[in-house]
């Protein structure tokens, strides 16, 4: 029984280390004797709370608006560039401070960063996402927020995005990376 489990864990590890999908950091970073604390499910509610705050910010900044995205891509307004630019600036300073002072999580674990390796998907996939972004006026985060604001038809856009993700997974080996 235990041997079987170890084998499965090994397979999981092999899959994850071959994983070129760099956004899923915790998937890449998993290792055999991971120190990840085991928490009951309701610990995840803090991420829901963070999501609620983020959703409110997205709405109040109007970044979930199809119109604001059109303005951005037509260079008719500074708003979106200001939002993204200042967000990245604050993010860079925060990450630098965390690294510099070796700040730990609230559970006193060291904070991990994983480097992203370049692959051609960053370009091809990036362009394809850009095409979709200009049409729907939404990246994945705003899709969820838009549904929350009452635009229920965006459920269809979200389902279609899930299908797109699935189709990518299906053809992944055949696509240039």
């Amino acid at each position: 029984m235990e041997i079987n489990e170890k084998l499965q864990e090994k397979k999981h590890h092999e899959f994850l280390t071959e994983n070129t999908d760099f956004e899923v950091r915790s998937l890449d970073a998993v290792c055999f004797n991971e120190s990840e604390l085991k928490h009951p499910w309701w610990y995840n509610l803090k991420y829901a709370a963070a999501g609620i705050l983020f959703g409110i910010i997205l709405v109040k900044a109007e970044v979930i608006s199809w119109f604001r995205i059109q303005e951005m891509f037509r260079l008719q307004s500074f708003h979106m560039f200001g939002v993204i630019g200042s967000a990245v600036t604050v993010g860079i300073i925060s990450v630098w401070l965390i690294k510099k002072f070796k700040i730990k999580t609230i559970y006193n674990e060291p904070i991990e960063f994983v480097s992203k390796k370049f692959n051609k998907g960053n370009i091809y996939g990036g362009l394809i996402f850009g095409f979709g972004w200009a049409i729907t006026g939404a990246c994945p985060g705003p899709l969820f927020a838009q549904i929350g604001t009452g635009a229920t038809v965006i459920v269809v856009t979200l389902l279609s995005a899930i299908v797109g993700t699935w189709v990518y997974g299906y053809f992944r080996e055949k696509l240039p990376h």
Partner: protein, 187 residues
């Protein structure tokens, strides 16, 4: 205070708050800010279909699903409690251009002249809702992240592949918004 919160927030308030999501998620549980991976976890949970890309223990990433559910609730809270209900103010050039395609309703963030249930039956509505969504899901996963994972988290950690991805997002968007979208809007 509430009156102030109900106004649209300027970029120099909203942008830094979005940037603070990066350290917030790192501090409360060592999580990298990123949203499009939630779509992958949904595939892994609902229809892995023996595809190696979806065969992993998605339950370890369930925090991400809580996070996106929170975003949905946040959207509801903001529109119900923190909104003036005024129409969105856009550049007059854009207004003129959109009027020529019959888009004149600025009451909602998601234009009601484009994205409604009945509009799904029109060619324009179907292309924008269904094909657009497909491109977002396919493209973000192919790129390994979206605006949050690459443009914000990746750039915050000074990852140059994320800069390449961000430039690609913008290039793709510029091309479609200026060259292709006018044809779609005429449908």
């Amino acid at each position: 205070m509430l009156e102030f919160l109900k106004q649209p927030w300027p970029w120099y308030v909203a942008g830094p708050l979005i940037g603070l999501m990066v350290p917030a998620l790192l501090l409360i549980g060592n999580k990298s800010f990123g949203i499009s991976s939630s779509l992958r976890h949904i595939c892994a949970a609902c229809l892995p279909a023996n595809i190696s890309f979806f065969k992993y223990n998605w339950k370890k990433e369930v925090w991400n699903l809580f996070f996106v559910l929170g975003i949905l609730i946040g959207g509801f809270v903001a529109i119900q409690l923190l909104s003036t209900g005024d129409p969105i103010q856009v550049n007059s050039k854009l207004q003129t251009e959109l009027a020529s395609y019959g888009i004149t309703n600025y009451n909602a963030f998601v234009p009601e002249d484009l994205f409604t249930w009945p509009s799904l039956l029109s060619v324009r509505g179907f292309v924008m809702t269904v094909a657009g969504g497909f491109l977002v899901g396919f493209g973000t996963r192919y790129a390994g992240g979206c605006t949050s994972g690459h443009a914000i988290m990746g750039l915050s950690n000074l990852q140059w592949p994320s800069l390449v991805a961000t430039i690609s997002f913008m290039t793709g968007g510029f091309i479609v918004a200026n060259i292709v979208l006018p044809f779609i809007l005429k449908l």
